[in-house]
Each structure stands twice: as structure tokens, then as C-alpha cells.
Subunit: 463 residues, 2 copies
Amino acid sequence: MWLIIVTMEKKIPYKIYLTEEEIPTAWYNVRADMKTKPAPLLNPGTGKPLKAEELEPIFCKELVKQELDNDTRFIPIPEEVLNFYKMYRPSPLVRAYFLEETLGTPAKIYYKFEGNNTSGSHKLNSAIAQAYYAKEQGLKGVTTETGAGQWGTALSMATQFFGLDCKVFMVKVSYEQKPFRREVMRTYGAEVTPSPSNTTEIGKKILEEFPGTTGSLGCAISEAVEAAVKNEGYRYELGSVLNQVLLHQTIIGLETQAALKKYDIKPDIIIGCAGGGSNLGGLASPFIGEMLRGEADYKIIAVEPASCPSFTRGKFAYDFCDTGHICPLAKMYTLGSTFIPSANHAGGLRYHGMSSILSQLYADGLFEARAVEQTSVFEAARLFARVEGTLPAPESSHAIRVAIDEALKCKETGEEKTIVFGLTGTGYYDLKAYEQFNNGTMNDYIPTDEELAVSLAKLPKVE
Amino acid sequence: MWLIIVTMEKKIPYKIYLTEEEIPTAWYNVRADMKTKPAPLLNPGTGKPLKAEELEPIFCKELVKQELDNDTRFIPIPEEVLNFYKMYRPSPLVRAYFLEETLGTPAKIYYKFEGNNTSGSHKLNSAIAQAYYAKEQGLKGVTTETGAGQWGTALSMATQFFGLDCKVFMVKVSYEQKPFRREVMRTYGAEVTPSPSNTTEIGKKILEEFPGTTGSLGCAISEAVEAAVKNEGYRYELGSVLNQVLLHQTIIGLETQAALKKYDIKPDIIIGCAGGGSNLGGLASPFIGEMLRGEADYKIIAVEPASCPSFTRGKFAYDFCDTGHICPLAKMYTLGSTFIPSANHAGGLRYHGMSSILSQLYADGLFEARAVEQTSVFEAARLFARVEGTLPAPESSHAIRVAIDEALKCKETGEEKTIVFGLTGTGYYDLKAYEQFNNGTMNDYIPTDEELAVSLAKLPKVE
């Protein structure tokens, strides 16, 4: 490794922290500034837009309201949510001095670090809000599904804090392979059930049909929704894709704006990884809002895995949100709900579709997208870990990869661009992935056009 | 769980952060203020105090100097070490508003949180300093041992940063059971060898004698020291117990003092967990210095596991620092170097002895000590995780247990005491321990007087 000696006599500190009073007190709803609003969710039975009363048996009332609200620009953050935020927020905006020095780039690199909390990622920002509204509605508890476990952990922490029950359906293969994640959730009082299970009708049906199955996220969603609808006083909560989730995650972008403003920094490039869209939407949409209102211009880049390239190779069309086809139809960039990406370690970026809001913004040319391969992502991750100290999550490392690429371009051209990227979380539970990388046995499979054509051919017909 | 609603309209924020300019620029050497200096290390062969030249084949020159320096009150922190500190320091001093509310105590509780870095604990504070001095000496690399893996991770991060080799001997049972820790170290470029190994003479000898052994810390130390001495350009580095390590860790206590001063807070009680003493010494010694100089008075409490009660049931005597008896003799509170604590999950608190500095201070009545049982420690850990968000390390949870006990005493008496405790790290790699706790199968074995008498009877004879 290089020997790095940096003199820190620079005006901008290594970490910019807002004070707790400077934490934004309202979430930003980018839909209010969009000329073309995101397409509405459709009832898969009737093909008609879903109304609040159809969504309320599944989701909390206030969250349904936020889901359907295309007009209110700022939605106040309830005081109890703000108080919880103060346990781990504001999150630092870090100047990557050591990374810049190592790359020898004239670019200035910043990252917004969301990993300093026990859930290990930005997911907690929305989990707290969703748990709070469930408590406000007088509910007994909530249900959800989890794959890798970050969302399940975040929701367990939040529901425990607000005194609610939490039933987590965890994809069976993860339940067995990630006992650590399971135990964090149990420590936070959640009931964790491997999915498919015998506790739901759909679970029983799947187990009968496929007795040896290790489960899937689609199946776990179906079980969680069934459990929410069938249990008195329960609702279902989801950690990404939905408009409400993007709304809550804007705390990331708003804090970033405030921190940049504090030091008069004008970013040129903003980079976020994109799975369902909650991180990218949260970080970038306040900046996109400025663009929509004609106040500023940025180059915004969504980064996705080449193994699951929704933006770069998907279709902008109505599709099912789940593989089980019991959820609403959403208009989005999708690879088809039957698409299964090849094995990779960015569990949070394996979704076949994408947030409706981001899909519309992408279709309108507000940002670009790039697909990157796994080995090159882990090369960036390891370099980052070594020079910046923090071991990044595989998901976040997609953004690191492109941030490094952009910084190296600046090295060629000599441009002193300011790059901001989202470091969504830590890789402390992803060491299996690092082990594969360290051993040189990483999988870089990219789907062929023929494979994508198969799942895209199965998109539902919606006029 | 209780429903907690806290209004945060209090003057003191949830987290007190110093600015990066306010990070202390010198470590504090409590020995300068001690009337009775800690007893010197003895050469086990001659029984005479060890001189610098005897220590320098094993340790870096500058570190030997710090080890033997009983006089210099403040030792400047090199600029490159300070720059690395800025990646994760200053660490926050957190006001535990939610814990206070939950306990219903009039006490004010603060904790200094050292877990927000990839090594997961305070160990990094000394690893950076030790790696820096190795680089300054022009060495090729360093060797060390690790059990649970926190120290090994910290040293891997630090040596990687300064461009040095790092050979870690990891106790074989941990190497096999904690593949995550091993992979973090490998990702940071360390060479990790399960101990005992065939790469050293002592390792070979042990393997011949005990072919099926899963290793021990004592054996790993012996291998690491041998590897340091036999490899040109290498030295051995250790993560606790030594005077130099306590010195580096005073950054914790100095930052705590600065943060308290910023808000005019006067602590009454200071609590830290104690294994080898690096955390307790680092947090408490700047406060003890005030006591020694007659400037203030505090109640300071060392917390140790009831399964390994060096302070509360040990003897203050010269003993071997390692079970292999190749290291120097140190005067300390010890249970005897042949003592093996019953299985428990606070790997960092299983050492048979204690820092010489802390031992002398304890003998002089500067602080008290308390031993706590594992299940009650995890009860405190879980409560803390649930109300304060962060999942604590088992070691740190010893301090949480006593902080809660003291806060509950205040509830009885109505006293508004101010309690400060050290939260040394996170429990993200300790979920096996939480699983046992969640399943109610925790081990609370306490050694009998007869058992302790056996190992104490084997103390070396030193006049």
C-alpha cells in the first residue's frame, strides 16, 4: 500500500457535522416539483389506480397519505421521530482527503456516511418514521420481510423503541446463513420467522409445492402482507421502492445540502447506488428538486450492479412489485418480475424494478445511470477501506466505484470537480463477500440479452 | 418495552462533539503525577528491572521509551497520528437521555462512545500510534496476537495505512469460529495465521505436545514474539496492559474532559470496564490525575467480570504476563498466570492480570472495583441497545451494568449525580453471545476460592 502523508491544514474539516438543531425538520417531497408526476399504483385486478381506502388495510393511514401525496413540497418530521434521529444523526459529511491523495486527483471528494448506527445503514431513517405512524394509529404491531437483514434490523430497532410488536419474515436461506442478523433482530424484540413458513396460507402452499425451497424475497413479502392483513391491529411496512420511503430518506440529501452550504461548497457530481431507489432518491432528490425548479444543475449518477441492470437495460413499463404477483402494479424501470439476478453480494441491489419516482425522473433525463461489475466494485471497496478506514457495504461500494472513476477522469483532464457520493452503510455483516473477493472467487456474471428478453416478455399488459 | 417520549428541549445536546481542532494534541502520562510509581517490569531470568536495550529487540524504540517514562506528564501526539485520529475522532460524548427516562432516575448519564470505527472499539487509538512508531523506525512490519479479533483488526487497519506488513497470530478456535474477523484483517492486508502454527518453533513444539489443541492467547503471544524477534525488521506490538498502551488511550479521557468542560459538566462517578486496563486507564487516568494533584475528587469504578476478578479477588504481586512464561514479570493484581476463566463472552476481559499503573493506583485507593455476572451484564446490554440504539460489546456492557446500578441508587436517594461511563465498542461480532442470552443459556460460573488458590499458589517468587 502507498504511504500516505496528508497535512490537514485545510479549511474544511475531515468530517462536517451539523449541530442537532440544524437537522432538517421536514422531509422533501420531490413529486411537488415534478411536471410529470410518477405514474400511480394500479390495482392488479381492475387495472385502475389504487385509492387510499384500498391501501389502508395493508399500510398505515398516514403512510398511505404520504404515498399518494404528489403536491406537498415539505412534510414536517414529527418531533418523536426527530428525537430518535438525534440518537444517530446528523450523519457526517466526510471529506475523503486520504482517498483524494491516494488517487492523486484534483477532484474534491465527499461522502455522506449513513452507517454509524446498529442497523448499519440508512434504512433506519424510514423505519423510525414508519414505526412512529403505526404507533400513532394505535396499532399493535407491524410485519415485514427481510433478505440480507438490514431493513429487518432497522424496523426491529424502531418498533422496539415505540413499543410495538414486529414480525419479520426472513428469507430462509438468509435466516440460516446469517444468524448474526437474526440475533440482532431478536435482541431488539422482533419475532423472526424463516420464510416460507407454516404460519401463513401462502407459506403453506409454497412449502407443499416446493418442500425443499430456501425461500425468496417475493415469497417473504407475500407472507408478511398476509400476516398484516390477517392479524388484528397489524400493518405491513416496506423498506424501499415506495414513494413514502423515498420521502423519509430525503433527510440524507437535506442534511448534505445543509452541510455543503455551511462551507460554501458547490457539488458538480452526485453519486448514489440504486436498488429499489430509497438511498439514491433520498440523497439526490433534494438536488434534483433544485434542477426541476431551475435553480442549479448537477450531474447525478445512479449506480447499479451489472448483474441487475434495471435502469441501464430494463424497460419503463407497468410491472408487478413482487414475484408472487399479489402486490400492486407500478410503472417503473424493470427487468420483469420473474427476473432472478445471478448470485452476488449486494443483496440490497437485487430488486427487479425501481422506485416510480426515480423511474419518471430518469425517463425525463434528470440523471444518468451506470452499471458496474462486482469485482471492480470490491476493488474500490477495499481501496476505500484501506485509505478511509471504514469497511463499506457492497451496495455502497457501487457508488464508491463510480466516484473513483469520476475522480480519475478529473486526474486526466485536470478538472477540480466536487464529487459527493452516498456511503449508505458498513460491510460488517458482509465478510463472506469480502472473503470471496480476497480469495479471487467472485462472480461477475452479466445477464445476456436473451435472458432479459425472457423476463421482459412476461410484463403484464396494461394500457 | 416501555413507551418512551422525551422532549429534547434541553441545553445539552444528545451527542457532544468536539471540533477536530479541539482533539487533544498530547497524551497524558499519569505516572508523572503518581507518588508511588508503578513497579518496573522484571527480567524473568535475572529478576532485575528490564532496561531499554533489553526491550528494544522486541518493541519499537520510541514505544520502549514511553513504556519506561515515569516523568513526562504530556507526550505530544505526532501529526500523522492526529491526522489518522481525525478519520474517526473526536468520538461523541453522548447524553443517555433515553436511558435516564427509562430508568426514571434523577441521575445524569453520559457515555463516551469509542465504537464508531471499523475495528469496532477503542483499540485503534493505540494501534495507530504503535504502527506509526514502527514506520518511523523504518521497520518492515509488526507481529501481534489476537483472540476475539478487535486488536488484530485495529492493528491491521493501522499498519495498512502506514504501509507496513502485519503478521497476526489468531487463536485457532477464534480463527475457525470468527471467520468474519479474520476476513476484515485480510481485507486490510494482514497475514492471519491460526495459532499454534508450524511457522514458529514454539508453535511446532506445542503442536507436537498437544496435536488437537485449539490454541490460547498465551500461546499466540509466544508465537508473535518469536516471529518478531526472528524476522529482520519486525517488532512485536500489544494492545493492552502495557504503560505505553494506557498512555495512547488517554485520548479517550482527555476528550471526555474537554467535552464536559465545554458544557460546564462536573462528573461525580466515572465507570469503565477493565480487562488488561487499556480502556479504564485511558478513560479514567486524566481524572485520576486531577485527584493526584488535589484538584478534584471523583468516584471511579473499575468493572470486571465475576468470572475473572483480578482486582476484587486477585493478589497484588509480581507475575508472568503470559501463560507461556516467556514475557517479563509485572507487578499487578493477578489471578495467577495459569488461571483460566470459565467460558464467557467478554473476550477482552479474560486476562489473568492487570495494568501495573492501574494496579498501583488501585492499591493506593484511587478507585474501587466491582465484579459483575454475565447474565446481569447482558440484561443491561439489551436494555441499553433497546433504548439508546447501539448494540454494545459484551466488554463495554460491564460498565453499562454498573452505570445503571448507580443510576438506580440515585433514584432511591433522589441524588442528581452525574455519571460518565466508557462505551468501548459495539457488539456486532458478538451475536453468538447475544444468541445465548436470548435463549437463556448463558454461563454465570464464578471461580471458587479453592480454584483461585490453585493458580495463586503458582505465582513466581520475587523479593
